[in-house]
Each structure stands twice: as structure tokens, then as C-alpha cells.
Amino acid sequence: MKELLEDLRQGVRDLCATFPATYWRTLDHERQYPAAFVQAMTRAGYLAALIPEEYGGSGLGITEASVILEEVNRAGGNAAACHAQMYTMGTVLRHGSAQQKQWLLPAVAQGELRLQAFGVTEPGAGSDTTHLETTARRKDDGYLIRGQKIFISRVQHSDYLLLLARTTPIAEVTRRSQGLSVFLVNLHEAIGHGLTVAPIDTMMNHETNALFFDDVWVPEQNLIGQEGEGFRYILDGMNAERILIAGECIGDGEFFIEKATRYAKDRVVFDRPIGQNQGVQFPIARAYAQIRAADLMRFESAHRFDQGQSCGEEANLAKLLAADASWEAANVAIQVHGGYGFAADYDIERKFRETRLFQVAPISTNLILAYVAEHVLGLPRSY
């Protein structure tokens, strides 16, 4: 087990070594999608890690998957470009029909089908998911989708979109979490036939978009599971996502600490390495301690997940601690680098921008705290 993780780490490092910092820097500058990197990760089978062997994947657990993503970020890359290809299929795997699994999973495992767009957030429903207003109503053996989504990533590099939409109006359900359904939307068919994609320029190189659905027709067989049960299906995948994101944060943290430590040893000011000053070395040591602590929670949550035990608390804590630790490490790294931390050629400012996202997406820190307060500590629900 330990040995497999070591081999995985080595394997991902070898792959990442062929995509040096200049690769990521140039893409960042041009706001281009890392197509070659994602293709290499796909070909090498890493993005099929979670798909069961019977469907052509490697049947590995969340532990291994989170380590794969950790190594990508540790090497200076950005796993956000491809992580969703790893886990979006989970909803189909757990709730799809035998037929849906049969056509979709092997194709995802082979990389012939990219299922890495996931549409939940709306302008009127961010943290407040169940408030979403995009509707799907029955029409000719299918559904007509109408509404708007925002911040939907990788749409232009995906073949299918997993979409959450309302099939029963809020007024007709007892709880808001009811009446939502999950659909597989064929993006090639939808774009230009009711679906408009408008890219959003963001602070980092992250392909994300506003989507406008103007009666996009989706066939009935693309409904996942039962109509009206969609929210539960999406929630089901959240713990996995939290743990994987924690892995990416830890990778970022390791990147920052390795960079900061090396720089602190090499940079000589006042005739001595800056790392000889406690004011410089203590923050690095503290950031290191926080990453290590978050790492333990990551492995604890991943272990519980892989054993089939409940892990809502641990997965949320892992994401919270890891995102905080990576942000702390980013701050330390940029400070240790002085002015050079702001120069693109040092890669610190790029990773600094990238790791900041984890405080907000896929779930913001406050919402995790609200979850812990309510579900772990038994305090009154605050949202």
C-alpha cells in the first residue's frame, strides 16, 4: 500500500517533469488550456484511477487519487485542469443505469470521452445550491433545459456536462432539496442548439464559463437515476471531491515550502542567507507544520472513505485545513521571495493566485465551518 503510493508519486513526478515550469508559465500568460498535459495524464491512465477495472480503469481509491493530484500541484502544475475527469463519472458509477455505465465509463477510462464539466452554480444559487432556478421540463421523450449557470469550468474541453436542474417547481415540493435532477448533456449537440457558452476571464488560468440554456433538449436516457433525486446524487460525490481538493492544496503547500526553503538558503542579504533569520525561517517552519497536520487529516478522511465509513466530518475538515495551510504557505513563499515573488519567472505569484481559489471553490470556507458547526457540534443551522 505504502509502496504503491510511492510508485504512484514517482510515476506522476516523471510525467510532470516533462512539463516544466516554463510550460505552465506560458499557458498562464496566454490563458490557454494545458491540453498536452491533460492528454499525457489521460494516456498514462491517471485520470482513470477511480474507474473500476471492469470498465477499464485501475479501480483505485480516493487515497491514491488524491496523491496523484497532490503530485501534479507539487510539481508546479495545476490539477484543476483535469481533476474533474477523475471524479465526475462517480455520479454515473453510483447512480447511473447499467446501460449508461456501459457506454460511458469505458470511454472515460480510455479518454475517448471527456466528462469533466459539472454544472451546479447559478447567479442566484452559489453556496445556496437548492435555490437553483434552471428547469428541465418533459418534452418528446426527453427534457427541455432552460436557465443559466455560472462558473462552469472546462466546458470547452469536455464532451459532456453533468447538469443539476429543477424538474419539480419549488412550490410543489416539501423540501427544497427535492425535485432536482441530474442530466448528462452532450455539449457538442447542445452548443448552438440552445446552449450558449460565454467564457469568464478570471484571476488565474482557469477555463470557466457562463452557460445560457434556451430550451436545450436532452433525451430521457440521459437522466441519471430517478427524477427528483438529483441533489442527493450530487451530495454523494462531495466528500470525494473535498478529499481530492485537499490533496491538491497539500501539493501546493509542498511546492511553496520547497521553493521558500531553497530560496531562503540561497538568497544572501546582509552577508548571510536570509534563512538564517528567525523572522524568515519560523514562518516557513510553521507553514510546514500546518501542511503536515492537514496531510494527516487528508489521509484519515481518505482512509475512511475507502473503507466505506462515514467521512463527512473528516472530508470537510481535510478540505478546510488543507486550503488554509496552502494559502498560508503561499503567503510565506511570496514574502520570503521579496520582490522576486511577484515576478512571473519565479512561479510563486502564479501558484499564489491558483491556490487562493480553494478558499472559495468548490465550496467556500464559511460553508464548511457552517457544516461543522451544525452537523458535528450540533449548533443551530446558520444558513
Binding site: D7, G11, T18, R43
Partner: protein, 255 residues
Amino acid sequence: MKILVMVKQVPDTATRIRVAEGNASIVTDGIKWVINPYDEFAIEEALRIKERLGGEVVVVSAGPQRVEEAIRQTLAMGADRGVHIKTDEALDSHVVAQALAAVARAENFDLILTGKQAVDDDAAQVGPLVAVFLDVPQVTVVLKLEVDAEHQRLVAERELEGSIEVVELPYPAVITAQRGLNEPRYPTLPNIMKAKKKEVRVESLQALGIVPNVKVRTVSLSEPPERPAAKILTGDPVAAAHQLVELLHAEAKVI
């Protein structure tokens, strides 16, 4: 094609080497061990030949316990099985080549590949010695290799200073790889998983009938002298140029 690839585990070239106390060895603590980069070209070539013509790729390496990791890495790249000649002794190229040749002799290989040299001691001895012990032809520093399975012949292009020599030879033979022969692959996840189940047979020098009669002994190791700080000439370009010529003549004694 049944192919044997001989690999050596060496310190990562980025490692800062330090001489251990006694001046006879290096400090191994904290060293990151990797597959000798030239041997990676040999593995890649073997895998490509196998993909084209079928057959088997076997990897052999001699050294202590840690060497198993290097063998596992080649299995993850796609090699079929490994042989680990396990020994903690400090050997010279001659003994290592004898041991490797013994492994090669025990099974009939069509082709034996290795790197042109190992980047730790840069001796470039093992490939040629194995060819001599096995009494088969060899081509070293190979940039391009073609296999004609029908006629059991190889065409190898080897690097000479400023030119390319094309050699045609029958096989079995020993080929040593130069940078440029190919671009080594990285392991894929399915192969990493499969590597766990592949066989790595452990051999000992004794079982191979090798008496380690070491002919080369390391007398002493020393670190290269520290380079003095560079002199930077500033100021008026004409004066600086005069000063540079003067320094090149009087101090560096190159003009």
C-alpha cells in the same frame, strides 16, 4: 525478440556529492537514486522493439537492496521481469560485467542493451566487457538501431566525432545507447499496478559462480577545488577591454 537490459542505479545528477570520511567513498545519506539516464534509453529501445516484434524484456541490475527500486521502475515502464544480483560489496566494472554476463548466459537473449556509460563513474566498461565475456559482437554509443528479424541482423548508427558510423552485424549482440536514440517514456498507471505482480528474481554472486576478484581499487576521492569568485570588470568599455586582455594574458595565461 528476447532482450536483456542491464541497468545501474546511480545518484541523481542533481545531487551534491560529498566525499565520506576516509576519502574512499561518497556520503550516501540523503542521495536520491535514479536509473542511469543512458540505461533509460536502452530500456525504451528494448520496449519499442518488443512492441514491434513481440518477445520479452528482462532487466538486470547489480547492487544492494535499494537497486530493487530501479528494477521496479523499469517494470512500471513496461519491462516483463527483473533479475536483481544482490550484493553489498563495492565491485569494479570487471566483476559486475562477469555477473551480468552470467545472467545473460543462463538464458538465451537475442539482444543485450545498456547505456553507453554510467553517469556516476563514467567508466563505459560494462557493455563492452559483457560482449567480450559472451563472445558476441558489440556496437557502442548507438544513436539509431534497426532490427531485421528475418535475417537476424542489426543496423546500428553510432556516434563518432563529427560523423556517424553505420554498422551492420548479426545478433545476439551487445548495444550501448547514446542520448538521442529515443525519448524514454514515463510509466503509466496500469503498468505501475502491473509492476507489483511482476517477478524480480534475486541472485547472488556466489550462486552465479562469481568470485569477486576486484581489480580496480579506489585509492582516494577528493572534491574538485572550489572555483574562485568571478572577476567582473566594470566601467568604461575600452578600458575594460584592455584590462580583460591583460588579465587573459598575465593571469589566465591563455593568450
